[in-house]
């Protein structure tokens, strides 16, 4: 069954299984490998993408549920004004260690700042708690979010 959606501002029609998760469509069929597989169970946040502006776990989103929706992935997040600030802060503070989780972190941070432009410490914790960083770059993640929000100390 062909499924039509918009990925990174480009309309796409995909012929695939309706239950195939968006994550694997991105990685296997659209050559967008920036979105990462971590746990396959919605527990780690490595596969976070924006679906109509909301942060969702691509590993838990059947492609059929994304039909007609607009997806933004790490590859194009900097096209959003908030995403651009987040990516700039992540680069300036050199947030990544291994870097594997950072696409998901950046997408969650972009969603957080889009709905809460001036987040409190609690807002940051609540917005980012679903994203695991095994290298524990959490201190720089907090700083980078504040910097992207224009709240850097």
């Amino acid at each position: 069954m062909p499924i039509t959606l918009t990925v990174n501002r480009t309309p796409r029609t995909i012929e695939t299984d309706a239950d195939k998760p968006l994550l694997w469509v991105l990685r296997e069929e659209l050559a967008l490998v920036g979105t990462k597989f971590g746990c396959g169970a919605g527990l780690c946040g490595a596969c976070t993408v924006l679906l109509d502006g909301e942060a969702v776990r691509a590993c838990q989103t059947p492609i059929a549920d994304a039909a007609g929706k607009a997806i933004v992935t790490i590859e194009d997040v900097a096209s959003l004004p908030v995403g651009k600030k987040v990516v700039a802060a992540w680069t300036a503070l050199d947030v990544p260690q291994c870097g594997y989780c950072q696409a998901g972190q950046i997408m969650s941070a972009t969603a957080l700042l889009s709905r809460t432009p001036k987040p409190s410490a609690d807002d940051i914790t609540a917005g980012m708690s679903g994203n695991i960083c095994r290298c524990a770059t959490y201190l720089r993640i907090r700083k980078a979010i504040l910097e992207a929000a224009g709240e850097a100390a």
Binding site: D17, K20, P21, W24, E28, A31, L32, V33, G34, T35, K36, F37, G38, C39, G40, A41, L43, C44, A46, T73, I74, E75, A78, V87, W90, T91, D94, V95, P96, Q97, C98, G99, Y100, C101, Q102, A103, I106, I124, T125, M128, S129, N131, I132, C133, R134, C135, A136, T137, Y138, L139, R140, I141, R142
Partner: protein, 729 residues
């Protein structure tokens, strides 16, 4: 090519290629022999100068997030005297004959490459300077270099390195052991923060990691592995699997962990990993795992309890007569400590990509921390020549020691062999990854110390129950015979007893130290309390005057009591440590010290205990890794990462549970991970710079934080926790 004397251990050769690009190849003797060979190891360093005077420096080691891909080229670039902005860094393939050891382990890269990498850069620079001397007829001593140019100040003449290439290849190769190096106060790159070279690619989602490997015609493999490690396949039926769409092969494989000729996993290969993974349930396998079914967490605990009450099976270290000294002690302190089996839980699941070419050559793309070992394993299991195997290194989504082992490489190579000409990518799902780890072994200790009337430690016994086979600890389950404070106590007795397991064990970041620091620094805090002291003061008294204590193993440096005291004093000052007990209910402060991986670290933590939950508020770290912090920005990263990783081991991670031989954990629900809400407000760092060559930072800051937390909980609540993870109820 310039003349090269192969008799010389360390040399540099220059070659010029089409388009006048100049390449330097330096070969240097490493300080430490390659493991197991008994021969001095060589380091190869490669520098390419393009006609436009830009530079490519090869990064030889696997990058797991420790920053090595940035740091090693910094050393070369510094002495070559080019600007960091003029450089591109290229990841080298695996070739230990060319590059020397290529390993992300042991925090070794800094101590082993600090001199050779700089000498390589300095050797190339010297050849370029001598080329200018020859061309300009001025003495080399009157020439300086900067940003990839040779400069003659007196005449104002300048020449780019690239323009000197044709002359430089004619210069006799210098002896790299004698090439002058910069003095540290003139460093322009070393000691200056450099962001990670891959950061821009990471934040735009560029393909970098092993799992991102994409090759024309590539297919994907999912794994059905024996649920019990060490078990093998008796028989299997793939008829239902083969009926599914998109399936291209079903291949039984040997992970390298079971006897030759046996298989312990089946790889299902399909046009989509999602599809291959989904049809795993259609495979029927009868396993042969009776020999492993008796192993369980409950069984280990029962055996450990029985062994603790018996005499040790073997002696690890003995001095004087500990029993006699304990008998005359003014006070004795006895305590049992324990820590669990742990998984590594790298966020990028184990994966690997392989292609068997028609000529029998095997090409592999591997996120491996020790790829040369992988080549050996593949060659052994598949009976092919190591020379027929090429391994390309990818960026690695977390290592922590898991990827020092290469089972994924061995398995995918067999699938590639079954379908020559087709690249195959094997990906473990999270449960595969958690159940097929090389686990951090658990351990149990019974410690007895004696103090005299003055409060000085006069005797120490430890009975260490660990996982072993044949009367010896298995991989990563050992203990340093000279574990502090053994060497400074007159009457000591360290003994060991062993428990068998079917689990594969391995190295977890700061292996053995991550457990021993908790046991010994926790116990010494108890001894200190019995002596009416705080732990830093007991440590100072026990360390005594400046001296060197025996090395943990051959090739490692001795333990300097002066450097230990240096960081202990520094962290106490840095954190305004008073040693006075907490006066605020639920708030506590603790201290821990450890020397491992050549680094001296003392740490203080503040904790809050409320409603049975422990939260680390802040960590203070004092570290001595020698005279130079090479990349301060990344050093801060490693300190924060190591400290928070230690907090995870102390408070967040749950023991790996084994039932009937099989690991029970499935995912991050039953193996919880450190999340942002558990991260402290700050990890504050102070460096104690001493006149020693710089050492690595991936590991040594981790161990002390664990006992510091246990000690802080005691301060906050009066409760002494002796089992990891630390739980209030």
């Amino acid at each position: 090519m310039s003349t090269v004397s192969l008799n010389r251990r360390s040399f540099i050769a220059a070659t010029i290629a089409g388009g006048a690009a100049l390449t330097f190849e330096a070969r240097l003797t490493l300080a430490r022999a390659a493991a197991g060979t008994g021969e001095p190891a060589l380091l190869g360093a490669f520098i390419h100068i393009a006609p436009d005077n830009t530079f490519i420096i090869e990064a030889k080691n696997p990058e797991i997030g420790q920053g090595i891909k940035t740091m090693l080229p910094m050393l070369i670039a510094e002495e070559l005297d080019v600007s960091w902005s003029q450089i591109r860094i290229r990841q080298a393939d695996t070739n230990e004959k060319l590059y020397g050891m290529q390993i992300a382990g042991g925090s070794w890269a800094t101590p082993f490459n600090w001199m050779p990498a700089r000498q390589a850069g300095a050797g190339a620079r010297q050849m370029l300077v001598l080329a200018a001397e020859k061309l300009w007829g001025v003495p080399a001593a009157s020439l300086t270099t900067e940003a990839g140019e040779v400069i003659h100040k007196a005449s104002g003449r300048r020449a780019t390195y690239a323009s000197l290439a044709p002359e430089a290849v004619k210069i006799a190769a210098p002896d790299l052991e004698k090439v002058p190096l910069k003095s540290p106060e003139t460093f322009r790159i070393i000691g200056k923060s450099q962001p990670g070279v891959d950061t821009p690619a990471i934040v735009r989602g560029a393909p970098l990691f092993g799992i991102d490997t994409r090759l024309p015609g590539m297919v994907y493999a999912a794994m059905v592995k024996c649920p019990v490690q060490g078990g093998t396949i008796r028989q299997f039926s793939d008829a239902l699997v083969r009926q599914q769409r998109g399936i291209s092969a079903v291949v039984p494989v040997n992970s390298g962990e079971v006897p030759a000729g046996k298989h312990d996993a089946v790889l299902i290969v399909a046009d989509s990993w999602w599809r291959a993974n989904k049809v795993r349930e259609k495979l029927t396998v009868e396993w042969d795992s009776a020999a492993q079914a008796g192993f369980s967490t409950a069984g280990y605990a029962k055996q450990a309890a029985a062994l603790l009450g018996s005499a040790p099976q073997s002696s690890l270290f003995k001095a004087g007569n500990a029993d006699a000294a304990l008998a005359r002690a003014a006070k004795t302190i006895t305590a049992d400590y324990a820590y669990p089996i742990l998984s590594h839980a790298t966020l990028e699941p184990q994966n690997c990509t392989a292609l068997m070419h028609a000529d029998g050559k095997l090409e592999i793309w591997a996120p491996s921390q020790w790829p040369a070992e992988g080549i050996k394993d593949v060659a052994r299991v598949m009976s092919i020549a190591p020379e027929a195997i090429t391994v390309h290194l990818t960026r690695i989504g977390g290592g922590f020691g898991r990827r020092l082992m290469n089972d994924y490489m061995v398995m995918v190579a067999q699938a590639a062999k079954a379908m020559p000409g087709r690249p195959v990518q094997l990906i473990f799902d999270r449960t595969d990854d958690m159940r097929n780890d090389y686990y951090r072994p658990g351990g149990w200790h019974r410690l007895i110390a004696g103090i005299d009337a003055s409060g000085a430690m006069i005797a120490l016994k430890d009975h260490f129950i660990t996982f072993g086979a044949g009367g010896k600890p298995i991989r990563a389950a050992e203990m340093n015979a000279h574990e502090f404070p053994g060497p400074v106590i007159a009457d000591v007795d360290y003994g060991m007893s062993f428990i068998a397991t079917n689990l594969a064990t391995g190295w977890l970041r700061a292996p053995t130290s991550n457990a021993m620091a908790f046991v010994f620094q926790g116990f010494l805090a108890e001894v200190a309390a019995a002596a009416g002291l705080d732990l830093p003061e007991l440590m100072r008294r026990t360390l005594g005057g400046p001296k060197m204590l025996p090395r943990a193993e051959e090739g490692e440096p001795e333990f300097s009591t002066a450097r230990a005291r240096g960081v202990i004093d520094a962290v106490c000052k840095f954190a305004s440590w008073t040693g006075k007990p907490s006066t605020v209910k639920g708030k506590g402060r603790g201290f821990g010290f450890y020397f491992s991986h050549r680094g001296y670290f003392a740490e203080v933590v503040d904790v809050t205990v409320a409603d049975g939950a422990v939260k680390v508020d802040k960590v203070w770290v004092a570290g001595d890794i020698g005279a130079q912090v090479i990349n301060p920005l990344n050093a801060e990263h490693q300190m924060q990462g190591a400290a928070i990783d230690g907090i995870a081991q102390a408070l967040v991670w749950q023991p790996i549970v084994q039932e009937a031989g099989a690991v029970a954990q499935e995912n991050f629900l039953d193996f919880p991970m450190m999340r942002i809400e558990m991260a402290p407000e700050d990890v504050a760092i102070t460096w104690v710079k001493t006149d020693n060559p710089p050492t690595g930072l991936g590991e040594p800051a981790l161990p002390p934080v664990i006992p510091a937390i246990a000690n802080a909980i005691h301060d906050a609540t009066g409760k002494r926790l002796r089992t990891l993870p630390l739980q209030m109820s």
